[in-house]
Symmetry: C3
């Protein structure tokens, strides 16, 4: 028989009794605050259409690249996980069987944030009281599916139950934001906004780049045959996004390189790019210049700028060609910021009105590069521990390695950055607990007074995200 599933009220708090008591007081102060989710990848159609989610497997397993990659790393194939390849090999089409396989291997997630998030979803969203394993697989599957049929498990109901004040999705400039408009036009009061992610039209290495530029021209009426016209098209799309409540842009380049070329050099480079003659160094330079252009536009339209560099996307060639993106094969790379960001920062970094939020997958840059940069430049802020580091130890390292140089007020609160909608409360709860954990340690080591920690706990859970993202 499966063991009890227990979500201890003191989870992620320090073990030592005094620190635990302080942590509890801090956590009680912030645990019920509304969720600000300023950056993520949920599907806006969920909230626009408000249809019931299909089943446990397609909701909780298939789209979660954290889960897929761990199972895959232990020899379970994509086909067994119900993922259809392009070559038409047989794959498991019964979601219940996929769920069982997942349940039998759930022990692989011991010690990972995936287990913490999923157990929270199981216990708090679905009221499950036994652990997931091979024995309880079917019971889980049936129970979750029954829940999903009920109105209170539809997207909008969950949004309200999760106490989400605002959530941001992420879309391409080519997106018409139809779902967002539908939500805005509906009688539902949930606030779902987008973020402007121009990678498909500013990264020459993006799949379909040239077609994307053509589409951009179509949509905006700009010819995009000159750099000036191209910039106008982008600015127009930013304005469109902004008109639907968008407050931020997001940039997922391989590196953090920025550039500050002359107008003439920009035009020449752009012509090389759109004629398809770009060498890798040209593409890199173009992306670099475009970050500086985006910063310039942000100074005009006020959109907050996010940089998410340093991921080697689709590292596994054969897996990518068979199963596509987001299957858990993106790997962090060493990332340099001090020289890379300098052209942009030297141009715009001294503007307090500009807000550039920078993330990293390379934790070595926390104390060496990012905290010193954010602790100096008015325009720069530090995004929270990201992706592989969105975890208890990752968050602890982030605070331990950035706070002493950048302080708390050059950080921007938490991002869940997820497409796993049901895990959003779990992720924010984890972040709040770890921030309170860190603060309680400072209090007990007399590096901070408890009233200061109370203020900070509130800011880290709610205030900083709201302010930094202008929400």
């Amino acid at each position: 028989m499966s063991k009890a599933l227990q979500l201890n009220e003191m989870r992620l708090f320090p073990t030592e009794a005094n620190a635990r008591a302080v942590c509890k007081r801090l956590y009680d102060h912030v645990k019920d605050l509304p969720i600000i989710s300023p950056h993520g990848h949920t599907d806006p159609s969920w909230f626009a259409n408000n249809e019931a989610f299909e089943n446990a497997t397609s909701l909780l397993l298939t789209p979660d690249h954290y889960v897929l990659r761990m199972l895959y790393s232990q020899g379970i194939s994509m086909q067994q996980l119900g993922v259809k390849g392009k070559q038409g090999e047989p794959y498991e089409q019964d979601p219940r069987k996929v769920w069982r396989l997942f349940a039998e291997h759930y022990y692989l997630f011991r010690g990972t944030p995936s287990q913490l998030w999923l157990d929270y979803v199981f216990a708090k969203v679905f009221d499950l009281t036994i652990r997931l394993d091979g024995n309880s697989a079917d019971q889980y599957y049936d129970h979750i599916n029954e829940c999903l049929k009920r109105d209170e498990f539809r997207p909008r109901a969950l949004f309200e139950r999760f106490n989400i004040e605002v959530i941001s999705t992420t879309e391409s400039p080519l997106d018409d934001l139809a779902h967002h408009r539908r939500i805005a036009d509906s009688d539902w009061s949930g606030r779902v906004i987008s973020a402007f992610r121009p990678d498909p039209v500013v990264d020459p290495d993006f799949e379909g780049f040239h077609a994307n530029i053509a589409t951009l021209a179509d949509i905006t009426g700009e010819h995009c045959d000159s750099f000036t016209s191209y910039l106008s098209a982008l600015f127009a799309r930013r304005a469109y996004f902004k008109s639907l409540g968008v407050t931020s842009t997001d940039h997922g380049h391989p590196s953090a390189a920025t550039a500050d070329l002359s107008e003439q050099d920009c035009e020449t480079l752009y012509q090389t790019i759109i004629r398809g003659k770009a060498k890798p160094a040209d593409a890199e330079l173009f992306r670099a210049q475009m970050l500086t252009e985006m910063a310039k536009m942000s100074l005009e339209d006020g959109l907050v700028m996010q940089l998410h560099p340093g991921s080697f996307r689709n590292h596994n060639t054969s897996l990518f060609s068979e199963f596509g993106r987001d299957k858990g094969a993106d790997i962090p790379m060493q990332t340099e910021y001090v020289n890379a960001l300098r052209p942009l920062l030297n141009k715009f970094g001294n503007h307090p009105q500009l807000s550039i939020i920078v993330f990293t997958l390379d934790e070595t840059t926390y104390s060496r590069e990012l905290a010193p940069l954010a602790g100096h430049y008015p325009a720069l802020k530090l995004g929270p521990a990201w992706w592989f580091h969105d975890s208890p130890e990752g968050m602890r390292r982030f605070r331990q390695q950035t706070t002493e140089t950048a302080g708390f007020y050059n950080t921007v609160g938490f991002n869940d950055d997820t497409r796993a909608f049901l895990s959003i409360p779990a992720r924010h709860d984890l972040a709040r607990r770890m921030d309170c954990n860190f603060l309680s340690t400072l209090v007990c080591e007399h590096r901070l007074d408890e009233d200061e920690a109370m203020d900070l706990a509130h800011d880290l859970a709610y205030g900083l995200a709201k302010k930094a993202y202008k929400l």
Copy 2:
């Protein structure tokens, strides 16, 4: 008078009482498990010949590069330490005097794993009850030497007393494994196997490389005048090693570079190499290609592959030319894995039957590169904290920085990786304590239930090494 030597039963456990109690329960569950030593550098002649060890100095001090380098760093010369140079300068020939010098400077090891290992050896293997220092030096020296004369301190008796289930040594493909055969042919039941370490015949920069290739040709009857013939020779040696129980290969290249050249390019490169015309980049490319060739052979013969990259060997030129290798002058270098391993992983990384265990001396790669890679590729596993990081803090960092992304099950338990035979129980005990320490913290922070931690403690101490190395 020397102070008491105390080995506290709770050493390396968390200080906080609840965590300590959990840790104690976990440790009690695993402390008496047999030792699996899947990778190391003990001398097989010890177990083949079963002769008594000579004296305390030649057993515990001279061969231990951890000890030599610390004493040397504080101004004690190799000659004072009894190491004979090539130029025939006078050196200390009285091992007792060398021992005294060591004893007087034993305080230098405070806070290092060497002190923890040695104190364990002194207390548990030799039943010494006072601390080593200048006062107790002679008493130590006499006592240890008297012990060594007794049968129960001969290699085989210690092997049994240490509860070693299996130990692996490491040999060149040119080695005839005569000692291993003698052990196998004897009536002693101890399991001592080798590992296939082909650096002397796959690294063009290895001392004597060309002579080694000639010897390889002699041994195997292959001419080694073509790449194909050379590969056949290597495969034959692998088969020979495997026939004597070997389950793994090991590769100690300067970098983690791998390559995937065409057959034609391989042949051309090989001809450049064996004609002695290799430039440094050719040598690097050849090593890189050979890792991919070794992986291919592993898919055929099932040998587990170990990568130990990133050491700048013999950094101190004059020390090396006078005193040779392994005197404590190997220094870690920054090591890159994401691009380096990609050719090999793209070719063979999706095979669950293949097992590549990767180590690092560059801890920055734990969370940034290695855990994400091992948390995705079925063929990749993470070796334990290695060499300079085989220590309490090093092990803690390893678990803290890899577990959340790679989990526990993409790791392979502990390696002692040592030539210091007497320290093997000390090293495994230290690893077990630190793993229980880490697990107990997870339990007390409610990130894991205690029954899960019990399972994991057993796996980390015994099961994972046995499975990963097919022992």
Copy 3:
């Protein structure tokens, strides 16, 4: 009303009661030891002239780049902070108003060492009992200024009150050390020495390099038209510094590169440099060679050599051109040591008489490069956690990542490295507390006995600095 300012006696000690008790005993053993300040940037004219400090703002805020950068990062301009630019823009000339602005934003320093240091200064030096904030700003300002008028707040009185045994400032070879001579010639017994910092005459990229060489020639009577003559000039200035009690040199290059060129190549390179024809690589090579030359001179004259590499100085171009150096815009860079230091170490690293103390802003090198190098080469020692890492978490990481490989005895105690004179006791107290914290954890985890920790606490607080810097 402002809250009470409390300096808890147990601050920075472990939270757990047993560890806290051990820590307290260790700290009580060392807290009253005299301060050895072997490297820093206080102004020798303070001690020579012994004039009263002007006011709270000019003493505590304006010269502190840690404070300036944090306020600047949050959108407060240099002008608002009372810093006069070169273009003559209006700036705040009332120091009281600048102090108020600082006080209102003092919450930004929560969790940073600046708050810990400043609160110590407020509480212990000025006996303030309420916290600094907008409400208490004027009360602070008036109280501090009244104190500064009193004799017991003059530099020499504070020096004695702070129990400083010796302090080192840092000067250029072109400095005549007039203040140091005046101190030596006075009837005051305070020991204030300089350190020889030749960057202005060995770094071709230093502002005014060529004029500096001309001045060097003037001062020494050497023509400096050949490399030999230039070296003689430098050696003469070292001798002059040494005659005034100096025991160390200091080198602040962008990288840790060293070189070992032939005499001919040195001469050729020097001619290129002094003719102003140096390309960046020439300048880098010259700096590299000069470190080796300095080491050679150190072997002769016995001066201890300090390396402080890895800072990207004046990263913010427009801020630098308007407001000059040391405004908080220096950013750490990735720094390599294994290859960089090899030429020097291969030439002189085996000399136990030579002492090279190396620092880093790149914490990734602690366990990977610096501890292994210092744990082998007799000439190499590790300087304490530096600049951005001179903080509780930074010190903890330093000990956790260097001790197991380099031990404690290849480190050199604490440097305050500050121009903020009043914070010196705060900084040493923080370092002593954190070292005792680290040691107490080792004791409670039974990795060290308490008597060993007592010895070590004393060495880390006093003995090692005195010995390493020959003070």
